[in-house]
Amino acid sequence: MATTASVALKGRKPRVILPGFGLTLGYTMLYLSLLVLIPLCAVFIRSLSGGWGHFWEVVTAPRVLASLRLSFGASLIAALINVLFGLIVSWVLVRYTFPFKRFIDAMVDLPFALPTAVAGIALTALYAPNGWIGAWLAPMGIHVAFTPLGIVVALTFIGLPFVVRTLQPVLEELDKEVEQAAASLGASAVQAFCRVIFPALWPALLTGFALAFARAVGEYGSVIFIAGNMPMRSEIAPLLIVSKLEQYDYAGATAIAVVMLVLSFALMFGINALQNWASTRHGER
């Protein structure tokens, strides 16, 4: 009986323990439509309200191109810095015990909780030529506040928790025995890291990178205080969107938004694909 039943079931849908696929999928679609799809469609439609010619003219203006380059370039650098230092921070927090560990762990979340304008003002105060850190750097000819470098600092600040918080659970699951096994099989510390630990962390690192990057591309509040906002030099794309809105140029503002959206989506899609590839490759081993 039991065998015939299972044979009979084989031709049908795969068996799911909990019911409700239809309901939950419906809910997912509705939720995503209301919160993501419909607002984004509105952006697309509005961006074309001035016609294709206007759209193209706006997004190919030298100032807009410069700002897009800056926004995506600075976000990329910031996300890469966060991957490196986020890995170190999460490693320390997971593998070692030391005084005030809980406190430091909680501190990682501060960039999440702080209003970004506050972060921007605080960072500017520190890195301005008369600030605590800026006063040290200025004699060496390093100017952070009011330059593109300042933008990278602000974007690194807001992106840090994304990498740490995606890496931590993965690191916690990674048994110390794996490293010990690698060592007992004769692997050096470098080999153990490159061939055993890193492949296991790689998908999580990519996720953290993608999140930090995406967050940085859209950031406005903290950056405008530290950027200096000089056209062609330190003007981020979201600022240009705001200045278009100040002229009631909704079509122009949404045109820049659409370009950012498409670029971000393409990048996220690429990172996702890379991640799938990485995790299946890792899984096959």
């Binding site: 030298p62 100032r63 405008i224 906002n229 056209p231 809105l245 100040e246 002229q247 009631y248």
Partner: protein, 331 residues
């Protein structure tokens, strides 16, 4: 005793049934917060004594352009009190919320108080900055927000332009060249006036801050008179932050009468005195004469209408895409 209490109750009930509570929303720009906090109280007292009704005025503050967009997008403002006519014009052109001739409805261009653009310099004025011409010297750094994002900063830009235009042999070309030189001395373009003040005051960047007179006085008052001096240029522009009721909303709320009175009371001696207290220049000649000594002496004050042909034109020529400001930073 009991009879007295009953009488009191009866009075209370009677008065509450006759007197109503009216609510108004005043959507304004950033630096008027304290002005309207005080004015709202004064107006509530006045309105109560006149009609017996209680009026509660809620305030909303933010960047002038952002506030106008909120009203267009549905923020139920009864009155708007913004930094420049262009932003209120948008309520007519973009939203159809008010008639196009709104600025003719109240006296003096619907602007009950004005200000002008002055220079805030560091105490002692070591760089010897006395007029617009000094701002283009290579050793001077100027702080002013971007006129693209800050409505208030557009007045700064126009004041500089107007000065250059009034110099001997001044033309649009010479004015553009002057303004271009001036903005090359600007190391940081903040997005709003408060941000620029912070850059100048807290970060210690720049030698001179272009500011509205009322903001300059406020900065000196709050940050200490021993740190900054105000310098009056020879020529400046009359900054007119106008006011208007939002017709569509007041008709919906049934608040037209009180909203209109709220704005006209700004022109009364009481309203004008409150404006003076917050360093805005009064329109009323008597009040103006009384407090003349409290304001900077600027020999020639020009209006945007006289020099630039009104805000619509000024915006299109200077601040729209491909306008003169874009050309300054063009390739």
């Amino acid at each position: 005793m009991v009879a007295g209490a009953l009488l009191m109750l009866g009075l209370a009930a009677g008065s509450s049934s006759r007197a109503a509570t009216v609510k108004l929303l005043n959507v304004s720009y950033d630096p008027t917060r304290e002005l309207y906090e005080e004015y709202n109280k004064a107006f509530a007292v006045y309105w109560k004594s006149k009609t017996g009704d209680t009026v509660i005025v809620n305030q909303s503050h933010g960047g002038s352009g952002k506030q106008a967009r909120s009203v267009i997008d549905g923020l139920e403002a009864d009155v708007v009190t913004l930094a420049l006519a262009y932003d209120i014009d948008a309520l007519a052109t973009q939203g159809g919320l008010i008639p196009p001739n709104w600025q003719k409805r109240l006296p003096s261009n619907s602007t009950p108080y004005t200000s002008t653009i002055v220079f805030l310099v560091r105490k002692g004025n070591a760089k010897n900055i006395h007029d617009w011409g000094d701002l283009v010297r290579p050793d001077v750094q100027v702080i002013t927000p971007s006129p693209k994002t800050s409505g208030g900063a557009r007045w700064n830009y126009l004041a500089a332009w107007a000065w250059a235009l009034k110099q001997p042999g001044g033309s649009d070309a010479s004015a553009e060249a002057f303004v271009k030189k001036l903005y090359h001395n600007v190391p940081v373009l903040d997005s709003g006036a408060r941000g620029a003040t912070v850059t100048f005051v807290e970060r210690g960047i720049g030698d001179v801050l272009l500011a509205w007179e009322n903001e300059a006085y406020l900065a000196v008052k709050e940050l200490g008179p021993n740190k900054f001096d105000i310098v009056a240029p020879s020529i400046s522009i009359i900054a007119e932050p106008p006011v208007s009721i939002v017709d569509q909303n007041v008709d919906e709320h049934g608040t037209r009468k009180v909203a209109e009175e709220y704005l006209t009371y700004l022109y009364s001696p009481q309203g004008q005195e409150i404006a003076v207290k917050h360093f805005y220049r009064p329109r009323d000649p008597a009040v103006a004469a009384k407090y003349a000594g409290q304001f900077q002496n600027i020999p020639l004050l020009l209006t945007v209408d006289a020099v630039f042909g009104g805000w619509t034109k000024a915006q299109a020529t200077h601040f729209a895409d491909h306008g003169t400001f874009d050309r300054i930073y063009g390739r």
